[in-house]
Symmetry: D2
Subunit: 328 residues, 4 copies
């Protein structure tokens, strides 16, 4: 049985998912909807699917699953609509920038019994998932301390920053999910400090440099270091220190050559950003969602995972603003 | 304009090319032919193309290009057939195991004006092609000495070895092409030594371990080291030493994590073989062929490139058997 | 002119400095004193110097400089004695575990005009000092965020832990000095969390796992991660992220070979501890002290540097105990 | 018992050995002799030893061992002199540039029963000796193929080149010794090609670029690649491929930092030459010689090892000049 998919939102990340769906042998991209007719039409032509509307898609019994890639402030409404319509839902993070709204939405999901999976694609990156597997296999013993370094090549446009919910809800939220994915225990305290170092224009609107420390009840620590600027490319590292050893993920670059001259030994810069860095993760994420719909696997990350990451982001903002350690 | 392709041979490498053609926006896989109806049918169902025959494909004016993935001993005949039929031809290496037969075939190609590109996919690997670009950009000055290390994870089945033409025509031939691709000058002497070290069953049939040295008229050297067994995966390295510096390609592994314990720091093994190591190269190779057909780009590697690699392989066998340095 | 040195304390670190002095062309080890006659005698025989006493050394006009490697609780008294005796003083860290006592001692140093250099040897490690030089040379632009990872192979004996002043005054203090060395600005807030994860016997006495975040007035951050156990050796890393780039120090291992097998690619474990890891640093540190005495160079680190690191350690303990962010 | 050493030849490498002897607890540098009184005097002052003559040293019963660092053309005579005088002898390579003269000298050594160790210091480099140990421990199974890459940062002065015996006797000879050290079997064929690529002034006098292949009776291969110019420093690599795995030595650099910027990830150049690259090897080599003299250990490398490397060098020259594969 091939699952029939509808894509809601045909922007940058929508295109990524359209490709992943069309390349998956168990899925078929049947419909696309977008506020911009042109964007929808482009997807429609490339993948041979029909341009449609939210309402039609919700009403069409042929649709098994939807992929929500619309603006953040529409996520919660759309999740509720499609949960009630009995569709399986893959939604880009976050459910909502507001914790109360997200909780209300997840209540609807629970009540309708809808399948909801969130788009923290890093869980499906082959390197990060190999780290998780190594931990599960006992290769490093008990997890003790985690270091996450996550630096973007450059800050997004000011318009995006203004509506993004801020660095912790927009950027660090992926690291909060990774921390929870690897810690095996919920954080109970959050300390964060943040500043504007890369671009003074951001001052007063958001931060571009942040350090966060999480601790758990059993005394594990996780440190997250974020910057919105890395001259050498998209820096995505994780290191987990355990009782028997330490495991780490090396950064990825598109070309792995090395040039040796009198100036030293030089390897090329890293991937330019997430679209190229996480190609395999996006495909594996959709494959996992197909398995959720088809085989009844548990969604990972779930809506609840999304909520918990958001709560950590809120706590981080409170820590910065009040200069305190926040206990959850 | 989308080019209509026919695939001849639906085995392991045929499947790789079918996927590459179907993923290329300028190409459409219209036909497939294979001695085994089942293999052809599988491709037909996966990509929605028609099962056909050599004769029908050659006769069909809708077909722009063919991809030849049939057994080696059919290559020369098929190239001639499709050259005469006016089709563009992509053929897996080699044209033929016999130099005279290959030369006769290439004569037909020249006379018919057919476009012929050979399948030495390593030229399209992003890492090796970055090395070639760095050389062309003058990053290492004049090329002086090249080291190629190429080790397979394990020997192919004895049946394959018996019909493969031997290690130099089967395995080293890729390294001969790489040597020519990077040297920028034709080899004029060939020295080779070969032995059986990995599996005594190969003794008398072929070799499994070989070292080859090529020199050019201006005194450049290229050393090739081959083994049919590497316990740690598919080892594919090149290093080019020049007057201003040295450039090298690092080995590729599917997962780049590192585990540190009392036993040391361990990274996972390399790719298991060419099917996973050269995924990007196979796609880029077909894209280049599409550009040859569509835009009139020169085929690289050409039939002539294939012939020259074969001549080097023959010289290597002579060097081993007679214990001499062969001058071309 | 060759400087005449006296060594006070002939234990483990005393031996390291004895070797460094005797290998320095501008220094001569003339005297050694130790509570244990045997330890002093061993040094005396190896380097041809005289066994003496504190009082004799202080009174002897032939002595230019002393190296204090006695137990921590004697440092402040000895520094005062030799400052008053007009000797140049190299003292292992810390001046004292108590800030008030350290301040009183440094007052004597100032009043007597004595030259005092402290033993934070990492400043003289060729790798860390190359990082500092790269920053000074503008290679990474403005310093923004620093990560320090410092993990010991194993915890010291319980007796040592009890009298060490605790993890922040004993172990992290080196990282506090490194942070100040590289930040180029004084920390103004300290957040620390600590727990016991490696050995439950430490519970209630000290901590073995700690994460610390420092911030400066201009919004720079420094994160320090400590563990008293690393199965893979002595882990000593620093990474400085700046506006133009990032610079990092790789870990050091005594043997840099790599073994590739079916189990992957394995490099040996790191140095076993500071005695082997910092061999070059100890020699360079004494050379720098010789230059302080002989050429009037400013001591780095100074007594003041030691005091500031100690104040950060005190703040870290307060942060952990009270669960607050400490402002300096 | 401390051994009394005499140093013959106080030039660059003589100074290295003087330092190694004086740093060895079981050895004492008692005498130095050099054609240049100034050079001898400098050593004498630095290490407190007596300036003497060859004849006095040979006649002095207090001398246990001599270190010969004089010009190559004096080695054989000096070895014979001190063998007859009953001294243990450490001699820089080679015994002589002429095989017959070397054989005659070694005959005297055998007849007198003198202890003779040759200065191929790479055997004592911790990295290369760890490779040999790993092989001995069975970590890679049976040795099959060896790659040695050895590139000098720059060519020596033309005067040195003229009297050096040529690239194979001067530079490759170290690689021949390393090949024998690791192969565990004697080479039976030698193929070499050489050219002048780095400096046309060398044309007609010597070569600066060479590739050599050795094979053994059981079919093992060793490839050596030499260049007299590497812009990025002193390149010294070995890789041994075996039935169970491959082991390799990484290049060494004095500072192991990495700078990441928009231009990529850059590590510093390698050591500038053997004086800094092989510091540990020179010390370990003298320690091994002390053990030969004191404890009766077998010298490694022996005079015979030196002779065999020289025979390989001669064969390489013959291979190049006659364009043939030389069988030994």
């Amino acid at each position: 049985m091939t699952l029939k998919f509808a894509l809601l939102g045909a922007g940058r990340i929508g295109k990524v998912h359209a490709r992943a769906v069309s390349g998956n042998p168990d899925a078929d991209l049947g419909f696309v909807a977008d506020a911009s007719g042109d964007a929808a039409k482009a997807i429609s032509e490339q993948y041979g699917c029909r341009v449609s509307t939210i309402d039609e898609i919700a009403a069409d019994p042929a649709v098994d699953a939807v992929i929500i890639c619309t603006p953040t402030n529409t996520h919660a409404d759309l999740i509720e609509t499609f949960a009630r319509a009995g569709k399986a839902i893959f939604c880009e993070k976050p459910v909502d920038l507001d914790v109360a709204r997200a909780e209300a939405c997840l209540k609807v999901v629970r009540e309708t019994g809808a399948k909801l999976m969130l788009g923290f694609q890093r869980r499906y990156d082959p390197h990060f998932s190999a780290v998780r597997k190594a931990i599960a296999d006992g290769r490093i013993g008990e997890v003790e301390m985690i270091q996450i370094i996550s630096r973007d090549p450059g800050a997004p446009p000011m318009d995006y920053i203004k509506s993004s919910g801020g660095i912790f809800r927009d950027m660090t939220i992926h690291d909060f999910d990774m921390a929870r994915f690897l810690l095996g225990e919920e954080p109970v305290t959050v300390y964060a400090t943040a500043s504007v170092l890369t671009d003074k224009a951001i001052e007063g609107v958001d931060f571009d440099s942040a350090s966060v420390t999480l601790t758990t009840a059993s005394g594990k620590h996780c440190t997250i270091s974020n910057s919105r600027r890395a001259t050498y490319g998209y820096d995505q590292r994780v290191e987990v220190h355990g009782s028997k050893g330490t495991i780490s993920v090396e950064n990825q670059r598109p070309v792995t050559i090395e040039l040796a001259t009198g100036a030293g030994f030089t390897r090329p810069a890293l991937h330019d950003f997430f679209m190229t860095r996480y190609v395999e993760a996006y495909a594996a994420e959709i494959a996992a969602f197909v398995s959720v719909v088809k085989d009844g696997a548990s969604p990972s990350p779930s809506g609840e995972d999304g909520l918990r990451a958001l709560i950590l982001a809120d706590a981080a903002f409170r820590s910065v603003k009040q200069g305190v350690v926040v206990t959850l």
